[in-house]
Amino acid sequence: MIFWRKVLAVTWKDVLSEMRTKEIVFSVLVFAMLVILIFKLAFSISQDMLLLVAPGILWVTFTFAGILSLNRSFVSEKEEGCMEGLMACPVSREAIYVGKMLGVLLFMLIIEAIALLAFAVFFNLSVFSPALILVTILATIGFASVGTLFSALAINTKARDLILPILFLPIVVPVIIGAVRASGLALNGAGWSEASSSLRIIAAFDVIFLVVSFLIFTYVIEE
């Protein structure tokens, strides 16, 4: 129980600082809108064609928005020297990982919820089905699990903006494949059984990388 209280303290710190600065959610949302706009301009296609490419557009938007918010999540720690403070706290590295991961997850989900709304309006699609929401949550857990690990790693390299996507993108390939497939099925109104293989892969990824990241996060931030 003490562990979870520490975890929530780390998450709450991030939520509090985000509520005061509104740095991540606002800027990333604007970015997500821009990605949607650029896609709309790049593919000027009819509504029935749109249904084919919509899952792809959705997940490219979420992936890039995810990378951006992951980057911000540790930049503030580094720039203000908060990382040293955080590590000096009587909190285990594992608790820092879970706390930061929950913060990242929360911000990403807020961004995605609003982006989905924009998506529904701009593309005239009914996106708020239980299947699509489940896919989004599962895939975002996958993004946050390895993303937090790599974000903490990238922040200590010479080219952090470059290293994070180079590491993050090939590793989350299974999540992107599964999410695009499952959302495509959900948008076309297919049943649960058809999407289950995709969902299972994303869920397996989530479990495996939550455990692996939890175990090796301590080696990333030790100084």
Binding site: T157, A159, I163, P170, I208
Partner: protein
């Protein structure tokens, strides 16, 4: 002294095995019925893939060792194996591409297995990049080890995810008895030739990195002396 003798031994072994595999691939083995002479690239393509996986498995094992024990020697083995493995994966992609052109009439298709190989290659390029973009050596080794572990764990999930698509690649016939005995024998000789080459390259790379590390230590000692 011991190191250099082992190198000669490995060098001799891989030379003999390579000579044997060239003779077998070009003279001994019968030409495949449907694909013709092009199919002979198979005897290089499959061993390249095998060595790539072997190399990345070694990276995985020694990355864990390094994070656990924190001794530079484990990192030297992991990083050397990653470099050799990336070269072999590059050759594996290129040989596959050369094979695909006459058979599928295209240099590249987004077939699941090809895509998986490309993802594999990108993961280990990232492994090498992380190290080179880190200022301190110890930190670079630590970060690379993390990528070496996460990357290897990811490979089966990537493979699983992409089989959600339909595949154009022939399913493996090697263990299901679909390969003629002469072909299987040739493949085994080629596999051992490439494995010996991998061991040789790994050995050379490790020896080189050890020397680099020694020079670094000596340099520091001299700098302190001045």
């Amino acid at each position: 002294m011991k190191t250099s003798r082992n190198i000669y031994w490995l060098w001799g072994l891989s030379s003999v095995l390579f000579l044997a595999s060239l003779l077998m691939v070009f003279i001994f083995v019968p030409t495949e019925a449907t694909m013709g002479v092009v199919q002979r690239i198979f005897y290089f393509h499959v061993p390249l893939a095998w060595v790539s996986f072997l190399a990345f498995f070694i990276v995985f094992i020694f990355s864990i060792f390094y994070l656990w024990k924190r001794e530079e020697k484990w990192d030297i083995i992991a990083s050397s194996s990653a470099e050799v493995g990336t070269v072999f994966t590059t050759l594996f992609l290129i040989s596959g591409s050369i094979w695909a052109k006459p058979i599928w009439n295209t240099w590249w298709t987004w077939d699941p297995r090809l895509t998986a190989a490309l993802v594999l290659w990108l993961i280990y390029v990232a492994y090498l990049l992380v190290r080179s973009y880190t200022a301190e050596k110890e930190r670079g080794a630590r970060f690379a080890a993390v990528v070496g572990i996460v990357g290897f764990v990811d490979v089966p999930i990537v493979a699983l995810a992409i089989t959600l698509w339909r595949t154009q690649h022939p399913s493996p016939v090697i263990f299901s008895g679909g390969l003629a005995p002469a072909m299987l024998f040739t493949l085994l000789v080629c596999l051992s030739a490439f494995s010996a080459l991998y061991a040789l390259l790994l050995w050379l790379k490790i020896a080189m990195k050890r020397s680099e590390s020694d020079i670094e230590t000596i340099k520091e000692a001299i700098d302190r002396g001045n």
